[in-house]
Assembly symmetry: C2
Homo-oligomer: 227 residues x 2
DNA sequence: AATTCTACTGACCACCTGGTCAGTAGAAGG
DNA sequence: CCTTCTACTGACCAGGTGGTCAGTAGAATT
């Protein structure tokens, strides 16, 4: 992350008192999540935060670096919340693929409810942002993505899968479905009140269950039915 | 579509000779597919097309209307190509869902290979574009989308589905997988020779088969195995 | 009290945006 | 030949954009 003490790229910002930091961060989150990277305006940010224009660039250097900082903030908060929720949900990870994915989905939903702007910001960063920023982010978080994918497989009960099935391919398939579902609903999500978003999230949860039932019948042995 | 002769919103453009029209369209397609609506620049378009700035607005009125026109062009080309390919593939539609989807998938892949930019433009229009434009497009193409979905179901052999399965939901599921796959591979197509693209399409075909096997086991009765 | 140093500021900059409209080239009509 | 008309043009506009830097207020040092 950005906390490498040797570089301290954002030292000017992090030296500030936390209340002031938060006011600035909030303004950035609001602006970036509402408009994405390109359409977000640094002028709008300083106006909203009530700080001088020069300060923003004194603290962060450039719009690009500001964005990277805010995205990093979002990712940190997301993963922290993610860990916390899945930690006190269950001490042990379930051995079942679908239960794992449900658990992750639930944690994600919780975060969406609590911090809709941060979630949107974080997610859009990998979709909307200009190519060079996107690739930098992908590079930056590649290891996180990899360990996350690895953790999904560690200690997984592979005996539930039909013998003639390639487990990696099956996981791929299920991920494809979840990814596709998310992409399909994303546009609607962008223009919703938190209450409507919450309702939609629950609807999606039901839909996911339906699909999971079908997928289980396809890739699990018959003795592992839908619960 | 936009061809309502009573309004003739784009008459100034469509009066031009086709070569000139095409040069302008190409520039628009390039710019919009590369940058999306918001970040696309009308100045960049006129520069690329080698036409005066005023002409663009004389022909199309505004950036917004230009975009709607180009998206419409993309949709027309897409559906035309789609019809053509599926027409000379087979005279009769197969009764099997997966065969139908394979056929459609093949047609779509052909279009992706032949016109990657147009496909991207068309696809992104419903994802990236500003809310008001997106909703106008959705309204505009709602009926097309509906008939297309209807046609997928007409004369479909529903007896193959397990009795406890919601056929609509099952179709949704399979579409989700295909859509996800296309989107995953789309970026690769943009920077490929036709030969490599063709090879990749065949690879994807194999992958689709794998997923279809699993899905069939999940939603079809046992007596309809993978072929 | 004078000086140095540091953190910060805001007027300013060059550049870009979508859009306009008085003006013009050239065909058509008289 | 002159006029009218039409299709088209490009210099221009107001309103942005991200970014800069000479200048300053106030704390720290002498």
């Amino acid at each position: 992350m950005h906390s490498d003490p040797a570089l301290e790229k954002y030292a000017n910002f992090e030296r500030l008192d936390t209340g002031y930091q938060q006011r600035i961060l909030d303004a950035c989150i609001e602006e970036f999540s509402r408009n994405g990277y390109e359409s977000a305006s640094t002028n709008a940010i300083v106006k909203r935060a009530g700080i001088p224009k020069g300060s923003l660039f004194y603290f962060f250097g450039s719009k690009r670096d500001l964005y990277l900082y805010v995205v990093d903030h979002a990712v940190k908060r997301f993963t922290a919340e993610f860990e916390r929720i899945s930690a006190d949900n269950r001490a042990e990870e379930p051995a079942d693929l679908f239960e794992r994915l449900e658990q992750r989905g639930e944690a994600r939903m919780q975060f969406v409810i609590q911090e809709p702007l941060l979630y949107q910001l974080f997610f859009n960063a990998f979709i909307d942002a200009p190519e060079d920023i996107r690739s930098e982010l992908q590079l930056h978080y590649a290891s996180y993505y990899q360990t996350s994918a690895q953790r999904l497989q560690d200690g997984l009960d592979r005996s539930r899968f039909k013998d003639d099935i390639d487990v990696e391919k099956a996981i791929h398939l299920v991920n494809l479905v979840l990814e596709g579902l998310y992409n399909r609903y994303l546009p609607a999500f962008k223009t919703m009140t938190p209450a409507d978003a919450l309702r939609l999230v629950e609807e999606i949860g039901v839909e996911v269950q339906t699909y999971f039932e079908m997928l289980k019948k396809g890739i699990y042995k018959p003795k592992f039915p839908g619960k």
